[in-house]
């Protein structure tokens, strides 16, 4: 079985600003990986390269094939993205937004068919957004909006789900909701999940594998207890912290020293 994602010696720069300097990473199908790192460490860039929005130098393979060998439509059926924030300039309902995920499945001149409506319904049921279907996206709260975005990504029916700080602007309850959902999708449907994350503690709690980016390279890659150590965090974030491992699960918990 080939890996879902293989990255070999990846470099990327925005003009003169180098962001990724030789990143190599392999993610198996059905894995759930959290990508950590300070602002500007390249988390978002990495996800954009994986979704084909940006192209770096180096080998990137999805499902065993080089990413540039896929057409856009194929890529969209392979990997779906939940953006950090979504632009909305015109009045679209939540259902319309979710159905847009089906553009890569049905013909360009067609309306959505039964299969598309079905996929959208299932995606909205899974994210508990069915009741929001006919509301305008711009009228929804941050949490509702983000769940609709996840529903859209699900409706794409891609095996790989890429999320860019999916809980960044949410309150505690909705943060937990999103993390629960990610775990459920990974566990029940076997989706490969790669999420750029900010909250170290939630990451440690939910993600079995974490990748810590620092200075354009992978600083550490492994289970939470190996990655989230006081020394690693000091080296990458430049912040003094205390790490404890409370509770029966003994997941690391990071305390910032004020």
């Amino acid at each position: 079985m080939s890996a879902a994602i293989e990255i070999e010696n990846l470099f990327f720069a925005y003009g003169a600003r180098r962001v990724l300097e030789g990143v190599s990473l392999a993610i198996a199908k059905g894995e759930m990986v959290g990508v950590l790192g300070p602002n500007g460490s390249g988390k978002t860039t990495l996800l954009k390269i994986l979704s084909g929005v940006l192209a770096g130098v180096g080998e990137v393979k999805l499902d065993g094939q080089p990413i540039r060998s896929y057409a856009r439509r194929e890529l969209a059926r392979l990997a779906a993205v939940v953006p950090q924030e979504s632009e909305i300039h015109f009045p679209f309902t939540a259902a319309e937004i979710v159905l847009m995920a089906r553009a890569s499945h049905h013909g360009r001149l067609e309306l959505e068919g039964a299969a598309d409506l079905d996929a959208a319904r299932r995606a909205m049921a899974a994210t508990e957004t069915a009741s929001l279907a006919d509301r305008y996206l711009h009228e929804l709260s941050g949490g509702e909006k983000q769940r609709v975005m996840i529903a859209r990504a699900l409706a794409q029916e891609a095996a790989i789900l890429l999320l860019d700080e999916p809980a960044a602007f949410l309150d505690l309850k909705h943060q937990k909701g999103v993390f629960d959902l990610m775990r459920r999708l990974n566990g029940e449907r076997g989706l490969t999940i790669v999420a750029a994350l900010h909250d170290l503690n939630l990451a440690a709690l939910y993600f079995p594998r974490l990748v810590l980016l620092g200075a354009g390279k992978i600083f550490r890659d492994g289970p939470p207890e190996d990655v989230l150590t006081e020394a690693n965090i000091r080296a990458v974030y430049g912040v003094e912290v205390r790490v404890e491992r409370p509770g029966p699960e003994r997941r690391p918990h990071v305390f910032v020293r004020a």
Partner: protein, 342 residues
């Protein structure tokens, strides 16, 4: 879950199409002078027939084509530029067309173009000069908006607006060096008018508008995705650069052709898309044809009013579109404003 289905597509489009046919009929029969329909149809050489078939019908048809084309272009430009203020006048092409037309009027006012080797009569060459202006400004704006091989919405918008101001300056300069009466004539032309008697011109515009509209309509689904932003659209499987290029070229050709014969008729392209979005929703697969038909209906009536209101003088049709369209739009915005994303 209310989504666009074939029934809604059909119902909206057929209803608007029927309204458009009725509009064309009504506007051909209405005007500052009355006609005797029986005589018009009975004797094709009577003044009544001439008013109906020479003076009115071509301009009503032209109004329908241009109203529809402007509205459709407004829809796609607002979507592509993700800017609700975008309108056909912003693209730079309109300025280029005006400049071309003005140069044609100043330097070769009396050139006539034989149609089909003169068999179909001769038409003024000013529209052709305007269209050449539109094409060259299109190439220019395109080149300046290209960054890393991609059309950049922001650059496109800025380039268009700045190019148009530059051209406006040139036009005002030309306007101040020609003589007084010619200057008045140029100003009238710039204000826009649907006045035409040449079916050849109408057919030319119909061909452009129809082809351009179908081209744009074929991008309807992708335009939905593009409104979510370039990145989101890419991630949902849209070749964004290709869509942007196609939309730019198709709408530029349409706008160029339209401005060449009618001058700048404002407001239709800005307002109709918003009105129709509030009525039929934002899905471009329906929004595009619905806006096209609604724009056609709106401009036909606006032009009829332009002919009647101050009869015998004809008002610039742009005055009518803004005067009646503006308040209606504000009313709709007030009532349905919650549908607009802030």
């Amino acid at each position: 879950m209310k989504v666009l289905d074939h029934r809604k597509m059909l119902a909206v489009n057929v209803a608007l199409l029927v309204l458009l046919l009725l509009t064309v009929l009504a506007c051909s029969l209405l005007g500052p002078v009355g006609i005797d329909l029986k005589r018009a149809l009975g004797d094709l050489f009577s003044p009544d027939a001439e008013i109906l078939f020479r003076a009115r019908l071509p301009r009503v048809l032209l109004g329908a084509a241009i109203g529809g084309g402007m509205a459709a272009c407004g829809v796609v430009l607002q979507a592509m530029l993700r800017n609700p203020l975008a309108c056909p006048q912003m693209l730079g092409v309109s300025g280029g067309a005006s400049l071309g037309g003005i140069l044609g009027m100043i330097f070769f006012p009396n050139w006539l173009l034989p149609v089909a080797g003169g068999l179909l009569g001769e038409i003024s060459w000013v529209p052709l000069a305007a269209f050449l202006g539109a094409l060259s400004s299109m190439a220019l704006v395109y080149r300046f908006s290209l960054f890393h091989g991609r059309l950049h919405a922001y650059h496109l918008l800025l380039t268009g607006v700045i190019f148009n101001s530059f051209v406006a300056a040139l036009i005002m300069f030309l306007n101040s060096i020609v003589d007084f009466y010619q200057a008045q004539g140029l100003l009238f032309w710039l204000m826009g008018s649907l006045s035409t008697r040449a079916y050849t011109t109408v057919a030319f515009i119909f061909a452009y508008v129809a082809a351009g509209f179908l081209w744009l309509w074929s991008q309807g689904l992708r335009l939905n995705l593009i409104t979510l932003g370039g990145e989101a659209a890419l991630q949902l499987g849209v070749e964004v650069a290709s869509v942007e290029r196609q939309v730019f070229v198709a709408s530029s050709l349409m706008i160029g052709a339209m401005v060449s014969v009618s001058g700048m008729i404002g407001f239709v392209g800005l307002m109709i898309p918003h009105v129709m979005r509030l009525i039929v929703g934002s899905d471009h697969r329906l929004l595009l044809p619905a806006s096209f038909l609604a724009g056609a209906i709106f401009l036909c009536w606006a032009d009829t009013l332009a002919r009647v209101l101050l009869a015998p003088a004809e008002l610039p049709v742009g005055i009518v579109t803004a005067f009646f369209g503006g308040p209606f739009f504000l009313f709709l915005l007030y009532r349905e404003g919650r549908k607009m994303p802030v």
